[in-house]
Symmetry: C2
Subunit: 380 residues, 2 copies
């Protein structure tokens, strides 16, 4: 179970002819009517129509339903795109007999084409009828694009649950592919508390994925609280939300388009955590570094070069691959090549010490593979 694990939510997945086949429409509904809600959205100025609509509607801190389509981003579509999103959410509101302001929408897929509104409208009544407490898995499947498998999570807090589903595949910054995440909880919490939990959870989870989470045209993280469970502390809520986001982020990395392995970068010794995160992202942005991850090559020189281009003093740099120290004070050290070869099969960890400051960060990235390029070079 995913978003339907916490009490008070039903969900469904269906087909609205946005894609050629398969599931492309997903629905999450709070059974008791409008509930407390919060969202974090992309800061991209070319934000998609559904982002503009949902961000505006969430200002009131309440929502009853979210409809999500995969197969079309509804971005780069101007005023017409907004009208399309309004037509769909208005129809859903009528079916639920609720104010349209209580209905949110998210979209993911290629940028630049219009939604097939008529076929989507035709599919809505069936989708609403299908929504049940058992519909979470189908809802999680319907939001996927190039993902190879659904990403779902359930976290138990102190007397409450947080459930979630997410999608995100070609997601290595600055690649700007869409990351969507929908979370539900049965906890009692007001919109401000929900927002605080999301704001605390994203930097260390989705934004540490080297996704720079909120930068594609469509990135959205939405959290609804049914309030059927107990009133919870902010700390307890934040911890559960962060745990849920962290597990979803890990699933996204493992399923990144064309990636053959997940590499975790542990940066330490920066002036502060933000500085550490910036350096980690800069390393993970280098095509040369990520190509060397693909080959399982402990090419610390490429990491040193990235650090140097960020004005780091090489004299304070230590680099270890899979626990084996390969460079100290910016200079290479002898290491057991065969032993390291063995450790660099599959996923691995690279520790990068950049000085003696207290700043630390953990960045999850993947290798860059020939498959990635082939895949993203295809005409959409």
């Amino acid at each position: 179970m995913t978003v339907t694990a916490p009490a008070g939510f039903i969900a469904a997945g269906g087909f609205g002819q946005v894609k050629k086949e398969g599931l492309d429409l997903s629905l999450v509904i709070a059974e008791d009517g409008p509930v407390a809600a919060a969202g974090i959205f992309t800061r991209n100025t070319a934000a998609a129509a559904p982002v503009l609509l949902s961000r505006r509607r969430l200002r009131g801190g309440r929502a009853q339903a979210v409809v999500i389509n995969s197969g079309c981003a509804n971005a780069g579509t101007g005023e017409s795109g907004i009208e399309d999103a309004e037509r769909i959410t208005n129809r859903l509101a009528a079916l639920l007999t609720v104010d349209p302001e209580m209905v949110l929408m998210c979209s993911t897929g290629p940028i630049g084409s219009r939604l097939p509104v008529d076929s989507m409208l035709s599919a809505l009544p069936g989708l609403v009828a299908d929504a049940t407490p058992g519909g979470g898995e189908r809802a999680a499947a319907a939001i996927l694009t190039t993902d190879t498998r659904p990403k779902t999570v359930v976290v138990s807090g102190d007397g409450f649950l947080v459930g979630g589903m997410a999608k995100g595949a070609a997601m290595i910054r600055p690649d700007l592919a869409t990351m969507l995440c929908f979370l539900t909880t049965d906890a009692q919490a007001d919109p401000a508390a929900l927002h605080e939990a999301l704001a605390a959870a994203t930097p260390t989870t989705f934004n540490s994925l080297n996704v720079d989470g909120c930068e594609s045209t469509n990135d959205s993280v939405i959290l609804l609280a049914s309030g059927r469970g107990p009133r919870v502390s902010q700390a307890g809520l934040t911890e559960a939300v962060e745990e849920a986001c962290g597990r979803l982020a890990q699933q996204m990395a493992a399923d990144a388009e064309g990636a053959s392995r997940v590499v975790t970068l542990l940066i330490s010794g920066a002036n502060d955590d933000d500085g550490a995160r910036r350096l980690g992202r800069s390393i993970a942005d280098s095509s040369l570094v990520r190509s060397s991850f693909y080959g399982g090559d402990p090419n610390w020189g490429r990491i040193l070069a990235v650090l140097g281009s960020n004005r780091v003093d090489p004299g304070g740099v230590r680099i270890s691959y899979a626990g084996v120290l390969v460079a100290d004070r910016g200079v290479g050290r002898p290491f057991d090549d065969q032993e390291l070869d063995k450790r660099l099969t599959g996923d691995f960890m690279v520790e990068v010490e950049v000085g003696s400051g207290p700043g630390r960060a953990r960045i999850i990235t993947t290798d860059l593979t020939p498959e990635y390029v082939r895949f993203n070079g295809e005409r959409s």
Copy 2:
């Protein structure tokens, strides 16, 4: 002819066992003794030993010779690396009976290993003996690493010549591979004039290659003036140097590692030229955009998304591929798919208007190919 085209220079290429085979040592000598010289070097704080040495020695504005090795960057080598570079340049100075301060050194290749100093020292006397006015081509061949062909140029100014040779292959920012360029002229010019010409030429040439020229550990551009020709105006000198750098940059792009085509981005409408250059680089940094270039896919949505993540108002964005307008005011426009397909074979141009400001830039980049990743994933 290349660096030996202008009167007063001799050159040679040889083998010092830095690589396993082929040419790996290159030498350029001013025949009349120390001459006016200037250089522009990487700002990388992990700059290679030869960069530290040459930058320091060029403070006096004079030099007689440059020795270049390929096959080893002599970066990430600490104090020992500096000593290695000093031993080599000191021996060359002794062979030329000149102050060691007049001898410069550049290196290119993998980061982290020491130079094979003894074999290089043994090769130096032969290299000096081989240096002739006809040695320019061999010198240009000896500086190459993964380049598939030498890059050379000769530009005629008003009564003077500028000759040059360069290397640079895996060079798409932020990939941080090394770009080396050596220029000679027979013009009479003082070191300050030479420096001004280089400083004016690099932003519009090498730094528009999406190399961010001076950011690898080893990037170096060096210009020597023999003074055998006429005294020249600053404008005339700058123009000839810029023309030479521009032609070398174009050759580098065409020979970029694993690239199948060169794509020229013309950015206009930014607040200023710097802003336009930043946006152009940001587009050329996106693996998703460059993968779409590989497929000849006019995927303007990915470009729009990059612009939006740089806070550009999509309402002012127009994008054309090969002269065909595909998006206007941030919204897609219908276009003749078959006609555009025909135009997107081979190299092409993408015009991106980002607003109504006067800022313009021209960025030369390449597509991202499966071959690139395969190549850079190999253990070095």
